[in-house]
Amino acid sequence: MRWVVLAVSLLAALLLASRQVVLAQQASEVVSVLRSGTLPISDPFDPVWDTAPAVDVPLGPQATTVPSLLRLSVPTVRVRSLNNGQEIAFLLEWVDETRDDLVVAGDRFRDAAAIQFPVGQKLPNICMGAAGQLVNIWHWKADWQRDIDQGFQELVHQYPNFFKDFYPGGITGSPPYTYPGDFDRAEVRQFEVGWSVGNPFSVPYRPSPIEDLKALGFGSLTHKDRQEVMGRGVWRDGRWRVVFARRLAPPDAESTDLRQEQVPVAFAVWEGSNQEVGARKQLSGFYTVRIEGQERILGIPRGMLGWLVGGLVLTVILGFALRAIRRRTTLRGHARG
């Protein structure tokens, strides 16, 4: 009996200890450093990024829902953040020996990374949100990045000797045809169904490598009507560095308002070479991003306070100056009269 009690208490202690480890992880935070001027959005290797503290966020394989990831391929992602009081940028960096940015072949999958924030509420129960618990997800895709850097990638980029002499639908021009140019007519596009219906994966013109999404639970991930997240990813020496950036103010009701001191945040990474896609991914628990300059003093963000006080002082000075000028003009008028 004594042994049983001992074993049970030992087990309980172990459980508690493991729980504490989890709690300690959850207590970690990413600090978004406030700095003036433009943010290094288009260059993930800009030395300015070194001024932001780096947090190594551990990732675990997604195993809550099927399909799940059985083999972890990216154990950590390094996160940094900067903001200038108007915009915020995150830098995600992880080790990936293989650059997977071409998904034309049916057995190739992209490298990707995502940042998730809850919308409205403090902390969603589970990843991808739940009914009534909207989340906002920013999803960067290596192939979309390549589309932007090198032009839309299609058959000739996967199979350099590809040739086809005819396409139906009244295609004009002569082979070899160029995509999307020669195909951008409604009759010809009929066969590019994804493009015809405006699927963001299929439309061969990319405004950003990052897709702005919303979700209300597993399987509900949806492309938002408004797309305002910008950024850039660069692969160099066996690692990806990807910048995600947006205004702090939400562009719509489905986006997270980042004009807050603390916002819950989670990260996910996909390794294309391991055929990771969709639910087959590694992800973090919820972290907190502490956004410098958004601390509230009398309900006003600190970053705004400087501007507010400055503005106030300026207004007072201007007011005095105006009064002085007006008085002088009045005096002159009196003198003339």
Binding site: A63, T65, V66, P67, S68, L69, L70, V103, V104, A105, G106, D107, R108, D143, E154, L155, Q158, K164, Y167, P168, G169, Y177, Y179, F183, Q190, F191, E192, V193, G194, W195, S196, V197, G198, N199, F201, S202, F218, G219, L221, Q275, V277, G278, A279
Partner: protein, 375 residues
């Protein structure tokens, strides 16, 4: 996991969603014995639906030679190997379906074909099973055999593609049971390509999402049979609305072939999808090979088919195949003719059970030539 009843394996089975049968179910019967692999069906489909950029490797309809042909490469033998040896007890399948045998973290047993696996649609064409020995001569029954297998999406009752899509971007239409991929919601994860045991979902590398056979639904909605059916020069195909065995309608041509005469069988029923494309098995192939493909009823089906000359109704339905491009809801055999009707009872087509034969003299007096063909 919910349980659903699959009559093709004669038992309940596990499926990620509860049963939700459509109002009616698209189905077809293909008579393997009449196919000559001319690929007119394949081209009719290709011309209609998959001529775009990114669809070059796609054949929503294909015809492959068995036992050596396969498109994509080894789609069937690879899955059979993954599933391992399984058992039937009479008409009841006692082995595991692809859902029941799913490994941890997956919806079904399956695999994603490699890129080049799609590059050999004509592999193994006309290759016979066995070796031609010295001194062999042609005789009946054939010493060596092969046969053609015509394949489109099975528009399954329990589709694996639908079950595997984590986004629920694949749906089964309530009005006709046709399985479609929502082209606005698909994100190209290829879970459907991985899960479909028949490998009838295709990834389009240009639109970066997946596509599949749509059963020519714009035609079906107008009371027309799909292009692959109506363009078949061998007249091996017929479409219809299929019922479950307990509600089989003996005047419905597909029900008649599948449930009444039981001459048409599902392809790999043991996978557990309750498919809706049925095959009349080839009568010249060893039953041992056919049992693995079409289940335990295959020998009875061949026996029934061989008896067709003495079975006017069976002959009638076989004659209706390819006789009209309209959708035949009912048929009736009267006298020497078979009649096909639409849902309102209007006569669509009338075909003689036995085609009249006209014999002409060998010598043509008018042109002073001898005829090679006198019938």
């Amino acid at each position: 996991m919910p349980k659903v009843f699959n009559w093709q394996i004669n038992r309940e089975m596990e499926y990620p969603y509860p049963a939700s049968p459509p109002e009616r179910q698209f189905a077809a019967v293909f008579d393997i014995n009449k196919c000559i692999a001319c690929q007119t069906c394949t081209l009719a489909c290709k011309q209609a639906w998959t001529s775009g950029r990114g669809q070059e490797h796609m054949f929503w309809n294909n015809v492959e030679t068995k036992p050596y042909g396969s498109y994509p490469l080894a789609w069937d033998v690879r899955l059979l190997e993954m599933l391992g040896p399984q058992t039937w007890d009479g008409d009841t399948y006692t082995g595991k379906t692809i859902f029941e045998a799913a490994p941890p973290g997956e919806v079904a047993v399956g695999f994603l074909p490699e890129d080049l696996d799609w590059a050999h649609p004509g592999l193994g064409e006309d290759e016979v099973y066995g070796v031609v020995e010295g001194g062999a001569y042609f005789g009946i029954p054939h010493q060596l055999w092969f046969f053609y297998l015509q394949r489109i999406c099975n528009h399954c009752t329990y589709p694996a593609c639908l079950a595997a899509c984590p986004r629920r971007a694949i749906y089964k239409r309530r009005e006709d049971g046709i399985v479609l991929i929502d082209q606005t919601r698909c994100r190209g994860y290829r879970e459907c390509v991985r899960a479909c045991p028949y490998k009838k979902v295709f990834y389009n590398g240009v639109t970066r999402i997946s596509e599949k056979c749509i059963a020519c639904f714009p035609r079906v909605e107008q009371g027309l049979q799909p292009f692959c059916t109506v363009n078949c020069i061998g007249r091996i195909r017929i479409n219809g609305w299929i019922h479950t065995p307990d509600k089989a309608d003996p005047e419905n041509p597909v029900d008649f072939l599948v449930h009444i005469r039981k001459v048409a069988l599902p392809l790999y029923p043991q996978f557990g999808l309750q498919v809706n494309i049925y095959y009349i098995p080839p009568i010249h192939v060893p039953p041992k090979f056919l049992r693995q493909m079409f289940g335990p009823r295959v020998e009875r089906a061949i026996e029934t088919y061989r008896n067709a000359p003495n079975d006017p109704e069976l002959r009638g339905v076989l004659m209706l195949m390819g006789a009209t491009e309209r959708w035949v809801d009912k048929f009736r055999v009267q006298g020497d003719y078979v009649y096909g009707y639409d849902a309102k009872g209007n006569e669509l087509v009338r075909v003689p059970l036995k085609e009249p034969i006209y014999l002409r003299p060998v010598y043509d007096r008018q042109f002073a030539v001898y005829r090679h063909n006198i019938t």
